[in-house]
């Protein structure tokens, strides 16, 4: 399956939805979306991963890039990763630097 990444920015939250297979050939498309998200200076970066079926270390490197580009105080949420993608995040210690959740509900603003 090919890779697709789309970004929506609303209320200080950038949401990138990742679908398909993320390897070294497709990582640049993800990186482009991260740059687009970073340009909006969001407070949260939300990565919707339920449709992401494969992730190689090239995807991890984009996560490092995102953290370093946006700054340590921008929380990165990873939403509903599939089992093996989650295992890669845990094995490499990335689960300590991102917030892994089953679903992400944007904070209600008064």
């Amino acid at each position: 399956m090919t890779f697709n990444a789309t970004t929506i920015i609303a209320d200080k939250t950038a949401t990138i939805t990742l679908v398909g297979e993320l390897d070294a050939a497709s990582a640049s498309a993800f990186r482009t979306e991260v740059e687009k998200a970073a340009a909006a200076n969001p407070e949260h970066l939300v990565l919707q991963m339920s449709g992401l079926e494969f992730m190689a270390s090239a995807g991890l490197r984009v996560l490092i890039f995102a953290k370093q580009k946006m700054g340590a105080n921008v929380d990165i949420y990873i939403v509903a990763p599939q089992e093996m993608v989650l295992e890669t995040l845990q094995k490499t210690g990335f689960d300590q630097s991102v917030i892994i959740v089953d679903s992400y509900e944007p904070a209600v603003t008064a």
């Binding site: 050939a25 494969f54 190689a56 270390s57 490092i64 953290k67 093996m84 890669t88 990335f94 630097s97």
Partner: protein, 150 residues
């Protein structure tokens, strides 16, 4: 023996994955084991293509072969890029894996995922070729072996 020869470019990662997953299916590896094998080979193939060929200004091919016996599936990757032994270079330390992302280096993660994701990994330099060998034990063989030894 099944084999596949592809150009040493990132477009080849997809046919490489298809080859590995077909070999994994032929020996009934479960989904998680097949994923780990595919990930391991994807990581090393990526290093061969990006560092062995492209960064060195070289063009070449990546050859895969799969050998199946009663106990294991063995997939070899061969290339004629610059000599590169994943076991000797760049392996990320456990300490590095504990670091927050804000302080992470970019390198070494792929080799780490590759080597610890398979049952056995070997590297050989054969003439002007690198040969990376990935082994996954077959589930039935593991049961038989245990029974045999007890």
């Amino acid at each position: 023996m099944q084999s596949l020869t592809v150009p040493g470019t990132l477009d080849s990662l997809k046919p490489i994955a298809d080859f590995v997953l077909a070999a994994a299916a032929a020996v009934d590896l479960d989904k998680k084991t097949a994923y780990k094998l595919r990930l391991a080979i994807d990581e090393i193939a990526t290093n061969i293509i990006l560092h062995g060929y492209e960064e060195a200004g070289l063009e070449g091919e990546v050859q895969l072969s799969a050998v199946i016996d009663d106990q294991k599936l063995e997939i070899s990757l061969e290339d004629q890029a610059v000599p590169y032994d994943p076991l000797q270079t760049e392996a990320v330390e456990e300490e590095e894996l504990q670091r927050p992302l804000a302080e992470r280096r970019m390198g070494g993660l792929g080799v780490y995922l590759a080597i610890q994701g398979v049952d056995q990994f070997r590297y050989e330099r054969v003439g002007d070729r690198n040969r990376n060998i990935f082994v996954m034990n077959r589930p039935q063989a593991a049961v038989f072996q245990n029974g045999d030894r007890s």
